[in-house]
């Protein structure tokens, strides 16, 4: 499916102040717009199914139907609709359950101001978005238990291996750029390549990886 010129977005959160804040950040971008809002999971499902919406942002902790339940239902009934979860909790459990339910990404509210735009764009490109410390944890887990998949290390370039180790130690992109004396953009590019090569950039692959590694139950 081609990426639309302007992504039409539904925002679902039970707090008006969060919805209006997200709307402000999103509407400021030329390539995205908030066209619908919902207060709980049930309303989100109803509106997302009815309206012409490309992407739905769902808060994990909503009353009545939760965000994850809504994601699950929407993914089944309208699979072309992209889903992003929004949450207060930096929790891998919620993250992987969200991915399993069909979400493409998981954004923390504490970083929503800077992450939501990138998350929307990546999601529309078919990539996943994970909050940074989740990526660090995943990568660290991968590095620590790497024995049976050591051959995977061979497909990474030496530079990528360097970046991988720093990600595993929870360095930010900026810190990695400083450490390796390269630009932040280059770091981001390496990071994306690493995730692609390790099979961690796609939500389906990530879910499978998480189940294999016992990070969640199947």
């Amino acid at each position: 499916m081609p990426i639309p010129l302007v992504t039409r977005i539904l925002v679902a959160d039970d707090h008006p102040i969060v919805r209006s804040g997200l709307k402000k950040v999103i509407d400021a971008q030329a390539d995205m717009e908030v066209v619908a809002e919902a207060e709980d999971g049930a309303e989100a499902v109803k509106k997302a199914l009815k309206d012409d919406v490309h992407l739905a942002i769902l808060d994990v902790s909503m009353p009545k139907t939760t965000g994850i339940q809504a994601a699950d239902e929407l993914h089944k009934r309208k699979p072309e609709l992209k889903l992003l979860m929004l949450s207060m909790y930096d929790s891998e459990q919620f993250l992987f359950e969200s991915l399993k339910a069909g979400a493409s990404g998981y954004v923390l509210k504490s970083d929503a101001d800077q992450d939501i735009v990138e998350a929307v764009r990546r999601t529309m490109r078919g990539q996943s978005f994970l909050y940074p410390s989740a990526i660090s944890t995943l990568v660290k887990d991968f590095v620590e238990r790497g024995r049976p998949e050591e051959e995977q290390f061979d497909i990474l370039t030496p530079r990528e291996l360097q970046v991988l180790k720093l990600i595993a130690e929870a360095y930010t992109s900026k810190e990695i750029a400083q450490e390796l004396v390269i630009s932040v953009k280059t770091v981001e590019r390496h990071r994306q390549n690493i995730l692609d090569k390790l099979g961690m950039s796609d939500r389906v692959e990530l879910t499978r990886y998480a189940i294999r590694r016992g990070l969640i139950q199947p």
Partner: protein, 312 residues
């Protein structure tokens, strides 16, 4: 010494002795026409008889009243911190009656203690839920909204930090994950966060065929695990922790074992008085479960909680 302050034995004996002496004297001093020599022999007879009667009196009385002393001794040794102790009902009618009534009183006291502990627990959980809701819904969301509207980086950073703290506290108070994703996910998250912050290596063994538990039982298991891990972080000086969730006989068994310093004392009975651990025990009782804390196989502490399956 005032008469009423003397022990029962001596009071009864004193009265009896007084009667016996009086009777003897009466006998001895009654005008009688007797030869002087015979009078002396008779006097000696009476004296010996008196002594024998007094001795017999004392011994018999002491035997009869001994159960009371024993009962008092036992009553003194009852320890309310170890419920279930009762005194066997021996002795005469009155003593048995007294013992029985005492045992009944112990029963009432223990039931009352249990009830008030459970009331306190319920109130605590309700309070935690309220505070967590307030934090998450009011404070957390307003901060998020504010964050999204700010432009100044430094202010944003400050708000971000506040939001992190709110999040951390809310999560500790009310594990929302427990409600949404269930016990295994919640414990996985709890143990991973513990491993991250403490640096201790955690091994998880969660069975996949666990019977379902009531909400209260799940919360009890979660809280006990939370408390155990907190204790390990604070006191144990451990390097390895194993947390396991296995099915039992129509129940679920939680085990948290570490390889740390362990509990001082020969049989870990010292922990019974410790506040946090008492709280765990109360939680277990509240949902009909059982908690055991003992020396672990790796040297440290092993906490074992078993809760019955199914809805209450």
């Amino acid at each position: 010494m005032r008469f009423s302050r003397l022990p029962l034995l001596w009071r009864v004996f004193a009265i009896n002795a007084a009667l016996l002496v009086a009777a003897t004297l009466l006998l001895a001093l009654t005008p009688v026409t007797i030869h002087a020599r015979i009078a002396i022999v008779e006097g000696l007879d009476l004296a010996v008889g008196l002594v024998v009667m007094l001795a017999a009196n004392l011994l018999l009385l002491r035997h009869t009243l001994r159960p009371i002393d024993r009962l008092v001794e036992r009553m003194r040794r009852i320890d309310l911190l170890q419920p279930g102790q009762r005194i066997p009902e021996h002795g005469g009618v009155e003593v048995a009656e007294l013992t029985h009534t005492f045992n009944e009183m112990l029963e009432r006291l223990e039931a009352e203690r249990r009830e008030s502990a459970q009331r306190a627990l319920r109130a605590q959980e309700a309070e935690r839920r309220r505070i967590a809701s307030g934090l998450h819904d009011e404070v957390g969301q307003v901060l998020t909204g504010v964050l999204l509207r700010l432009d100044d980086d430094e202010t944003k950073q400050a708000v971000r930090q506040a939001l992190e703290e709110v999040r951390r506290i809310a999560r500790e108070l009310r594990p929302e994950m427990l409600e949404q994703l269930g016990l295994v996910s919640a414990l996985t998250e709890l143990s991973r966060k513990f491993a991250d912050s403490s640096g201790v290596h955690v091994e998880r063994r969660f069975a996949t065929d666990l019977p379902s538990l009531s909400d209260d039982a799940e919360l009890a298991v979660y809280r006990v695990a939370q408390e155990s891990l907190t204790n390990i972080a604070r006191h144990a000086d451990a390097s390895h922790v194993e947390i396991a969730l296995q099915p039992g006989a129509d129940s679920v068994v939680l085990r948290v074992a570490d390889d740390g310093r362990g509990i001082p004392g020969p049989d870990a009975s010292a922990v019974n008085g410790h506040g946090g651990l008492r709280g765990m025990r109360e939680r277990a009782l509240l949902v009909g479960g059982a908690l055991a804390i003992k020396r672990g196989s790796e040297g440290g502490v092993e906490v074992r909680l078993e809760v019955p399956a199914g809805e209450p």
